[in-house]
Symmetry: C2
Subunit: 191 residues, 2 copies
């Protein structure tokens, strides 16, 4: 029995998200996404008539939603901001190690590959994805941890920047040490 | 009169560095590097017999050396670590604006594109390039600003991670605000 369309769609988005996180947007061809997904080749033209960029917009949403889920699930188990940041960093360090430092920072990888198309739907999707992290982190800092709004927004931007940069350093140096160092430093920003 | 070989070599490396910073490693073809450089097509096979990866290793060195130069030149005019960090961030913000947010973070762009080749000469060049920034920054923090060695190294790693991440956020959001916010926060780490 052929797989239902929704399953093919999810598998294509999932495969694209994984490949972009590993090797960036430009290196990933539509045919590699189809092959990695296991979805029938014909389905991609039906499901994503605009091709790779259209899949990428959905893949960015998926990657962003995963981090948003991580932000919320780690906050549930963390009584303090410091605990929360440590849990987020530990989870990212684990993902880096599990992928042998080949995967991580999916938004950064696509952002740096697509900026010449800054006003494209993909450039806008990168922008929205980062905004969604910042908004969710700021919301949690404000409503769960009692920070005032302006402070919460600044801390959210700074912590997300520092963690994104740390993940890239971890990949370059094939070590999770930068994430540990940065997580301890971010804790110093907590009022 | 044909251009001397050394000039062609520098122009190829310079063009590659600019293209990687704008669009990543994978999207940049050897023929685009040659075209952008204005060097004679034949010279590339003579100067870089191993092709794009060999040019990229040199381009990473060039990009890394530019940031190292920035670290030293800004330190010369800065009496305090806080001043120094503000000057670095201001210079990076200016570059982002001048390129209409199309260029920046050349190491991150190549790192995220080439990690599947983690043990390749290119992967190692990314690692060395980040190490050179961290070493230079830690050296300045220790010898110019009087921090102890362990503190200087941790601050160097954290500040470089935070600034790299901020540059990526700036590119995604087409705004220099993340860099300003992060620079003020890094200042809080200074003992």
């Amino acid at each position: 029995m052929p797989k239902p369309k929704t399953d093919s769609k999810e598998r294509l988005i999932e495969a694209a998200s994984r490949l972009f996180a590993q090797q960036g947007y430009q290196a990933t061809g539509l045919s590699q996404i189809v092959e990695e997904s296991g979805a029938p080749r014909g389905s991609v033209y039906f499901l994503f008539p605009e091709g790779k960029e259209q899949i990428a917009v959905e893949a960015l949403k998926l990657s962003a939603d995963r981090i948003r889920h991580l932000l919320h699930s780690t906050a549930e188990n963390s009584d303090t901001v410091t605990d929360w940041i440590r849990r987020i960093a530990a989870s990212m360090a684990q993902s880096l190690e599990e992928s042998d430092f080949r995967s991580g920072s999916p938004l950064a990888a696509v952002t740096l590959d697509c900026v010449n198309e800054g006003n494209s739907s993909l450039g806008q999707a990168c922008h929205r994805a980062y905004d969604s992290w910042i908004e969710d982190a700021a919301h949690l800092l404000q409503h769960k941890y009692g920070m005032d709004r302006a402070e919460a927004e600044k801390l959210a931007v700074s912590a997300i920047a520092a963690i994104e940069g740390a993940v890239i350093l971890c990949r370059a140096r094939r070590s999770t040490e930068p994430l540990s160092i940065v997580a301890e430093r971010i804790a110093e920003w907590v009022p």
